[in-house]
Symmetry: C2
């Protein structure tokens, strides 16, 4: 198996670009293991605007350049990652990489929604892929899902909350009663909104993503000018109040739906959605996309929609895809298991709180006897309960329930084994875990 290092040309060392470097440093070994040693990646060239800017994530000075042509042309660069944003320089970089036969990974939804048709044509012409998982819904693998996992499905619809900033603003308006401007200010201060938050709040960031999803699902080029987009600037506290009282939640929703005649509905608008719908519980900077396929049925994909690490997670996954496409000889998905051995935690050492039900003979002192055994082992009790059967309040056999504080399963089992020996206890106690999650 070939395992020379693959060189990455990283255009952009900002939020996401830095995250990619960190993820490769942190988990490079893991990736090598998981690909059976086939994929070993190194940033060999990195494009920035300002060479002298102090950077949290350091790169050797000779790796940095301000000349994108140099980055793309560098013979050490096998794959080009575009993370500078915008639709001008970014376009040139992606086009040049494709022409040079270097696979491209990008997180730039504006670029692909606005100028994707030209770039995808170049991709085809030069038989060189463009990967763009990071462009839609940050860390959620929705691109791969629609493009690969649902490839055998006619997609009936996709509805999504795919702009975290506007979702955060709407949530704050709803739960804290803020007005739009205050909530936006908060989002900016927390670093959620872009420096220029226009695309976040006017709906166009979500629209770019929806256009990409629709192109994947229906396969034809979509002119952004034909898409109906409304943002959240017009949402006022009175609207939120009204929605709440009627059982709705206000969300910026992207809707993509195929009609029986084949026409595709595609729009982004503030929408009232029923509070009981799962999308209504998607809060803060989280994103979610509900997909309805003719075979898969209804499904939902939920996760972090943006941010350094989640977005880097998607870029890295695409890098591995790109690397595989350059190393076709190796087994496609890696083989399992990829290490010889590992350690399972003995069940005795796992810890949760727990619910225990005892089948006891009802007589004075039962609770005390059981509680004494638990106390001996230092297992705390947060509640006990013994339901009375209204039809036979003096029944001899009853269920008695204990809620116990977190302790190891091993200690719990040993204690319960002893409790089972008490003559007031008639059978093995039943234990359910209380999960923190």
């Amino acid at each position: 198996m070939k395992c020379s290092t693959l060189g990455i040309g990283l255009a952009g060392v900002g939020t996401v670009g830095s995250g990619v470097i960190l993820a490769l440093r942190r988990n490079g070994d893991l990736i090598r293991d998981r690909t059976g040693g086939a994929v070993d990646m190194q940033v060999t060239k990195a494009l920035v605007r300002d060479l002298s800017k102090p950077r949290a994530v350091a790169l050797p000075q000779e790796v940095l350049t301000t000349d994108w042509k140099e980055l793309v042309a560098d013979p050490s660069v096998d794959i080009v990652v575009e993370l500078i944003g915008g639709t001008t320089d970014a376009f040139e970089i992606v086009a040049a990489a494709l022409k040079a036969g270097k696979p491209v990974v990008t997180g730039n939804k504006a670029l692909l929604a606005e100028r994707g048709v030209e770039l995808f044509a170049l991709s085809k012409e030069h038989d060189t892929p463009i990967h763009f998982e990071a462009a839609v819904a940050g860390g959620i693998p929705i691109i791969k899902t629609v493009q690969e996992s649902f490839i055998g499905n006619r997609i009936h619809s996709m509805s999504g909350i795919i702009n975290g900033t506007s979702n955060y603003i709407l949530e704050r308006m709803t739960t804290a009663g803020l007005d739009f401007e205050t909530a936006l200010g908060e989002a900016q201060q927390l670093g959620y909104a872009e420096a220029d938050p226009a695309l976040d709040v006017n709906g166009w960031d979500a629209a770019h993503k929806a256009i990409l999803l629709a192109t994947l699902a229906y396969g034809f080029p979509i002119d952004p000018a034909m898409v109906h987009v409304a943002g959240i600037e017009q949402v006022r506290p009175i609207d939120i109040d009204f929605a709440t009282r009627l059982g709705y939640v206000v969300k910026l929703l992207a809707v993509v739906r195929e009609h029986p005649n084949g026409a595709v509905e595609l729009r982004v608008q503030p929408s009232f959605i029923p509070k009981s719908h799962i999308l209504a519980s998607v809060n803060g900077v989280f994103n979610a996309v509900a997909v309805h396929g003719d075979a898969a049925g209804e499904s939902l994909f939920y996760g972090r929609g943006a941010g350094q690490d989640p977005t880097a997670s998607s870029v890295v996954a695409d890098l591995v895809e790109a690397a595989r496409s350059l190393r076709q000889a190796t087994g496609h998905r890696g083989f399992l298991p990829y290490r010889e051995s590992g350690q399972l935690l003995p069940i005795e050492n796992t810890e949760t709180a727990s619910y225990v039900r005892f089948d006891v003979t009802d007589r004075p002192g039962v609770v005390a006897e059981i509680a004494t055994e638990l106390a001996k082992e230092g297992i705390g009790i947060s509640g006990t309960h013994s339901p009375v059967n209204p039809e036979s309040p003096d029944a001899d056999f009853v269920d008695m329930v204990f809620l116990l504080h977190t302790c190891s399963f091993g200690k719990l089992q040993a204690t319960l084994d002893r409790i089972e020996q008490l003559d007031c206890v008639n059978s093995s106690p039943v234990v359910f875990r209380i999960e923190k999650l």
Copy 2:
């Protein structure tokens, strides 16, 4: 580009096998388009037990066989799909296919959890992949997500509801107050439970799936005998009552978690989970897996966990992967767009109910004037509302809200344009959609 037909050897034409045939018939053209014409698949051989059994999904008699060796050896078979179940014949079939260098697609979690180590070794030895998306969580692409999309993540934990039958039973016990036996009978009658529901209710079906997820995430072989598994047979109405009163929901939960020392916790047990957690809302035969990766953060994947079509959806996706691995020359993920043109539905023709806010001058007759315009166009009103400002109850300018029945956006806009001309209306009305979803 090469586009000869790929032959599928389909071992098993039961629930899932029939679903695969149907999906290929229904969406074969779509798959061909989406893969740029590269993937065209045909069932050329099919294994059954009983040749004379009447089948809802017909296959030519010469395609059918009862001899698995014939199926694997047939020169027309390029890919072998194992959907017979069990761990004996299924093992022989998968092993023989791998030895013959024919990629395998299977939905058999019992086989892979119990005998995966041997089969994965054969896969590696013969450089031939085993695909098994259908083995875990039916139509949810959780295998691809963990194996590919999260390849750059250290997986902190995965918690899942991954047996639909037991989830259905627990839900019915919770919402309809049924006891275990009655709920199980209902699940069997609805065709959710297997003929022998033992693996569903004793937790082992979920455990097999959890073992596969853990192997993907941590990469070492796991001995099923070392895994702690408890089923739902011991759950009684009293437990459900108690959980409900405390704000919990009882679920059969699979928990996989890496501890700081590298040891992996792996268990399947009935668990109390907080009602507010998103996993608590996973009802009926749906499945969900919450994954926490070091880069991606928290995410959740939700969908149909079993059934003919969802499971077939995953098998078909794997078939396309397998086909691609045999046709390495073609662009890996297909190129976009894959058709020249398509039709966007004009926004005027989209239909939902809506919420409209008017900024009006408050005087008698305003509601009537607006309502009259709406009535002229036949747009129904389900509610109107004009909040009083307690600090200036006689204010001149107020917000007036209308909830309108479903009508086309075009008609609504035209009507609102006219309403905007009324001299009691001071600015453009604000419209939000009320989505059905």
